[in-house]
Amino acid sequence: MTVLARSRGQTRLDMLQRAVFSLTFLTTVVVCVPVLVVAVYVISHGASAISFDFLFSGPVRAGRQGGFFPVIVLTMYALVLVMLFAVPLGVLCAVYLAEYARPGRLLRLINLTIINLAGVPSIVYGLFGAALFFDVIHTSQALWVASATLAMQALAIIITSSREALLAVPRGIREGSLALGVSKLHTTFFIALPQALPGIITGTLLAVSRAAGETAPILVVGAIAATDVSLSPTAVVQDRPQMLSYELYYRITEGLGLADNRKWGLALVLLTIVLVFNISALLLRIKIQSAALQRRN
């Protein structure tokens, strides 16, 4: 009995344990609550603006009436383009860094540079994009230029997360493949990459979600407020960039303009698009993981 009874020291340890637990729990609550509050606030203020017209018709009287259908569609186009530009480049770069590059000082420097690229202020990317595309390549102001600028920023996140995902693939299963006389190339593409895919998808979606919210870079490369344009994919090269993030910025800063609920409505649409991207990534991830296990011959 005496052995099992709590000593005073143990009681103190117990209290400390409980205190630390409470602190970590409280911190989690403190972090989560504002997110929820913001979401609820956006929904409660913006929901009244959401209507069929708001989502599926073009702007009338400079956006005061009608809806934002073109901006929504062009935002989607822009995000898909960001993925088209950044994912192949980023993943191939990550494959090189994780699988082929010789470890050493140079590789460490390159990795550090790429991580730092993710921290470069977005407006700098905007300036760089403007300089590159308008001054050097002499393209016109178009949606694809905005996407390419956003893709440069997305690249850093995609490379870093893909590289981490590849490095996390256990050495054992790579060696298992190589020991069968399977080439390094096949081992990389048939063993390592499928294993890393969930991590790559997560990184990509994180990067695209961020791109969806970026305003500064697209402002620099010539974004404009919502106007009715053709929504055929050729708009990507023919029309100036319109994106929800810039639209929201424009509406907030134009002073007496748009009704409040329409601004919140725009925010709600942007939030939903980002959420849809994230949830589809989650579903894709689950599907890939179960498909990988159930794949037949």
Binding site: R102, P103, P170, G172, I173, E175, G176, S177, L178, A179, L180, G181, V182, S183, K184, H186, F190, I191, P194, Q195, A292, L293, Q294, R295, R296, N297
Partner: protein
């Protein structure tokens, strides 16, 4: 175990050179091996170092066809490093440097114009920890053949079944072919990994402590399997477990890290029976009688 005939001298082409190449003059060659099985692998003064640190040095030995050769010795004596030389797995470690020729059927696998990928097709490997691919049982086996360019569902299914039967796993998994390989028990996973190697039909199978993560029953199953496989394949096994070496192997090499420089050497190499019943080196005797290591 093995049938053992009266000891007689095996004279090989390199018989004279062996001792000349061995810097320490230690007896590396199983000079009194009971039979003259063909040599599939010949190591001549092979050494491995990682950056500046030598791991193994001066190993000269022949590996005989359709026999099981065990490498035993205390931890850190370079058994695994030596094993990984035999299919160029040390290439994967950037700092590793392998010296000395290793002849596979007469061709030096370390020479510049030999493709390590081709070497590994002839010399497969099973690892300490079972490492099934994160795919179905079927795909685990068919992965190798597919990547080597074998196609056709019927052909692949034949290969899969044949490999699983050869690894004595078929009866246990024939109704679980589409389940993930990682869901099998540890012993089954290891036999799956052996079946995976059999599916690409190598000449030699290297096993790096294949039973160290398994329970005694699973271990016995793998040992029985090895005795079956050796009819068609040559097996080189690294093991910590002396009883295992005594049970399964035909030849045993005892390795030890020498005091100076701490690089491993082969102290004694001979038929398993001789090495365990009549060790010629005091250090071998000390090790197998459990006086150290």
């Amino acid at each position: 175990m093995k049938e053992t005939t009266a000891p007689r001298e095996v004279t090989t082409a390199k018989g004279q050179a062996g001792s000349a190449l061995a810097p320490s003059g230690a007896p590396y060659r199983p000079g009194d091996t009971p039979e003259a099985a063909p040599v599939v692998l010949r190591l001549e003064d092979v050494g491995v170092r990682y950056a500046q640190n030598p791991a193994v040095d001066g190993v000269t030995m022949d590996i005989y066809k359709n026999r099981i050769t065990a490498l035993i010795g205390p931890s850190g004596c370079g058994k695994s490093s030596l094993l990984r030389c035999l299919n160029r797995m040390n290439d994967l470690i950037p700092t590793a440097v392998v010296n000395g020729p290793i002849y596979l059927d007469g061709v030096d696998i370390n020479s510049g114009d030999v493709d390590p990928v081709q070497v590994r097709r002839h010399v497969g490997m099973v690892f300490q920890k079972p490492n099934p691919f994160p795919m179905s049982v079927r795909d685990n086996i068919s992965f190798g053949p597919k990547r080597l360019g074998i196609g056709g569902k019927t052909r692949l299914n034949e290969i899969v079944e044949h490999a699983l039967r050869a690894a004595t796993l078929w009866d246990e998994v024939s109704d679980k072919m589409d389940q993930p390989g990682t869901a099998l028990s540890g012993g089954q996973q290891q036999r799956l990994c052996i079946a995976r190697v059999l599916a690409v039909n190598p000449e030699i199978i290297l096993m790096d402590e294949p039973c160290s993560a398994l329970d005694p029953i699973a271990t016995l199953k793998i040992e029985d399997l090895m005795r079956e496989l050796v009819r068609e394949y040559t097996i080189v096994i690294v093991t910590h477990n002396m009883q295992q070496a005594a049970r399964v192997s035909d030849y045993t090499a005892f390795m030890l890290a020498t005091e100076h420089g701490l690089h491993g050497r082969v102290i004694e190499y001979g038929s398993t029976k001789d090495l365990f019943t009549n060790p010629r080196d005091k250090r071998t005797e000390d090790y197998i009688t459990g006086r150290f290591g």
